[in-house]
């Protein structure tokens, strides 16, 4: 039931204090013709309404959430405690710099640590999400080429296993996309990459480890091929959780990078975030970074790089998310950061190893932080598709892995357990996966009917996409 349906005229509560300044009536032409449909509801009912909604959802606090490429790790509560400190919350973005030195120090320190982890030289906290970071990074690449009078570079190379946002961001930035196929080993096809490289290439976008959970062993050759044709290398940080403290994108030959603080650095994904997608770059790209960066030694101040591409978001990005990420890094420390990645990789390999007796792995070799199963065989044999196993998991209190991605694997399920799950949680999930496999063989109809224990049963995805209901109609 929607909150509007619970509304009763005259019921309600005062959230705002009485107005203590003279009221101003807007001009007739600016006035609303109809009252706003604001729900009128008591505090008690409001509280129950949101608790009910929370019970209907599944988050990291409810259970296992192995959504591949999303790094749904536990978000330590101490991060929130830090972000709740009044020194961070009771400030105004336009306050004089000398009164918010602590906030500036947070931004500066987070930048320093993240640059150390990725081996970049400077980083902006402005972008609000990963794709926003991609767009920002591509604008840096564009600004660089244009500053050199190099106007013929109109194409960005993206491998066919890339996240869908990569080609989309490239198109947004005005580039056309050249797709390079993956070889049978899941890695970039070097011969095809060499064919695509040329003086019309602005750059390459890549994740490493890639979307099938494998570390591309040819990475140095790949970035060199792009550099030698005059292009730049962009690192999509979606999968950084596999390699923190082990290898650094800057050492692999990347020039620009975005991070997803809401993945790798344990800030919340829930309710749309807010996310944070800092963009880092090597020194030669730093003059183009969006404003504002923090500089200074004793006294910190905001500076605008000389050839800045401009603002990517108002003020300083999602600042309180950066506070959470910094709290996470300080909690873990240098060794803890490395250990987090090691355990993420260990957990993924443990799960993959335990499952590969039954399930077919798309690439049967040691993986990084995630692995991809192909359920094509199971579908042929029993009729149970990846989506049926996914729905069956819901009935067992487990959020399904990413489905039907990457596109190069048929009937794909892509699982990323993350480092924050215990062996017991993994063992239980493995047990459920195996149980569902046998259910597919014995009673596939049960899987087609799943889920039956969730607040809503199987949704008509096709009907929803073909005839979407996009708005609520109020009674007149």
């Amino acid at each position: 039931m929607l909150i509007f349906e619970k509304s009763r005229p005259g019921r309600g509560m005062d959230l705002l204090p009485a107005c203590d300044v003279p009221a101003v009536e807007p001009a007739e032409k600016d006035r609303r013709k109809m009252a706003l449909h604001l729900p009128e509801i008591s505090e008690n009912d409001l509280s129950r309404h949101y608790t009910e909604l929370a019970k209907k959802s599944h988050g990291v606090n409810d259970g296992f959430y192995p959504l591949g490429s999303c790094t749904m790790k536990y978000n330590p509560k101490i991060n929130n405690d830090m972000a709740d400190l009044p020194g961070f919350t009771e400030v105004h973005p336009l306050q004089p710099e000398h009164t918010v030195q602590g906030c500036l120090e947070v931004i500066r320190t987070a930048e320093e640590y993240l640059c150390e982890i990725t081996r970049m030289d400077r980083m902006t906290m402005q972008p609000a999400a990963g794709s926003h970071g991609e767009f920002t990074g591509l604008l840096l690449i564009k600004a660089y080429h244009e500053s050199r009078g190099d106007k013929n570079r109109t194409k960005i190379i993206v491998p066919d296993s890339a996240h869908g946002t990569n080609p989309a961001s490239a198109a947004m930035a005005g580039y056309s996309v050249v797709s390079v196929p993956s070889g049978p080993d899941g890695c970039v096809d070097i011969a095809k990459l060499k064919e695509a490289a040329g003086d019309n290439i602005a750059g390459l976008m890549l994740t490493n480890p890639n979307t099938v959970g494998l570390f591309d062993k040819n990475i140095l050759e790949i970035t060199e091929i792009i550099h030698s044709c005059g292009g730049l290398n962009y690192y999509d940080g979606a999968n950084l959780n596999a390699v923190m403290g082990m290898v650094r994108p800057g050492d692999m030959g990347f020039d620009v990078i975005h991070l997803n603080l809401h993945k790798t650095f344990s800030t919340p994904h829930g309710g749309g975030g807010p996310g944070s997608g800092p963009v880092g770059c090597k020194e030669f790209l730093a003059p183009f970074l969006p404003s504002v960066l923090v500089d200074g030694k004793e006294r910190l101040s905001f500076v605008r790089p000389e050839q800045s591409i401009g603002e990517m978001k108002s003020f300083y990005g999602n600042f309180l998310v950066v506070v959470r990420a910094l709290a996470y890094m300080l909690t873990l420390g240098r060794d803890g950061i490395r250990e987090a990645s090691q355990n993420a990789v260990l957990n993924a390999n443990y799960m993959m190893h335990q499952l590969k007796g039954l399930y077919t792995m798309a690439y049967d070799e040691a993986c990084m932080h995630e692995f991809v199963m192909s359920l094509e065989d199971l579908k042929k044999k029993t009729g149970a598709a990846a989506t049926d196993i996914a729905k069956g998991l819901l009935d067992n209190g487990i959020h399904p892995p990413t489905m039907y991605f990457p596109l190069i694997v048929k009937e794909a399920l892509m699982a990323e357990p993350t480092e924050t799950e215990s062996k017991e949680t993994l063992d239980r999930a493995i047990e459920v996966f195996c149980k569902l496999y046998h259910e597919a063989e014995d009673d596939v109809q049960r899987l087609h009917d799943a889920p039956v224990t969730t607040p809503v049963s199987r949704l008509d995805e096709v009907g929803a996409a073909r005839h979407p209901v996009l708005r609520y109609h109020f009674e007149a």
Partner: protein, 126 residues
Amino acid sequence: MKLEQGVLYTKSHEWVKEEDGAFVIGLTDYAQSELGDLVFVNLPEEGDEITVGEPFADVESVKAVSDVYAPVSGVVSEVNEELLDAPERINESPYEAWFVKVKDVSEKEELLSAKEYEAFVESEKE
């Protein structure tokens, strides 16, 4: 897998038929069954130039968005706008649900007969 006699096929699963001096292009039955229920189609406009081997349209299922590749180079002379409102036609009758008609064809890729296409699909399945 249903095959239609009198049309030619591509390895990227489009069908082509010559009709009144134009090339009619659509998606094969195998393609629609692999994609699943289609919910959205993006078509070019009349007068657009399409290039052999390059995407000229895309189709969206609940799972993913996929490109549709041009088997010929030429100019789009007619667009089946009915598909925009009813993408399910492609699932229901793939060989009637044509996407575009193309004229002034300057180039075309090597097309397969029904028999060759069937063999190709079988070999891909393995």
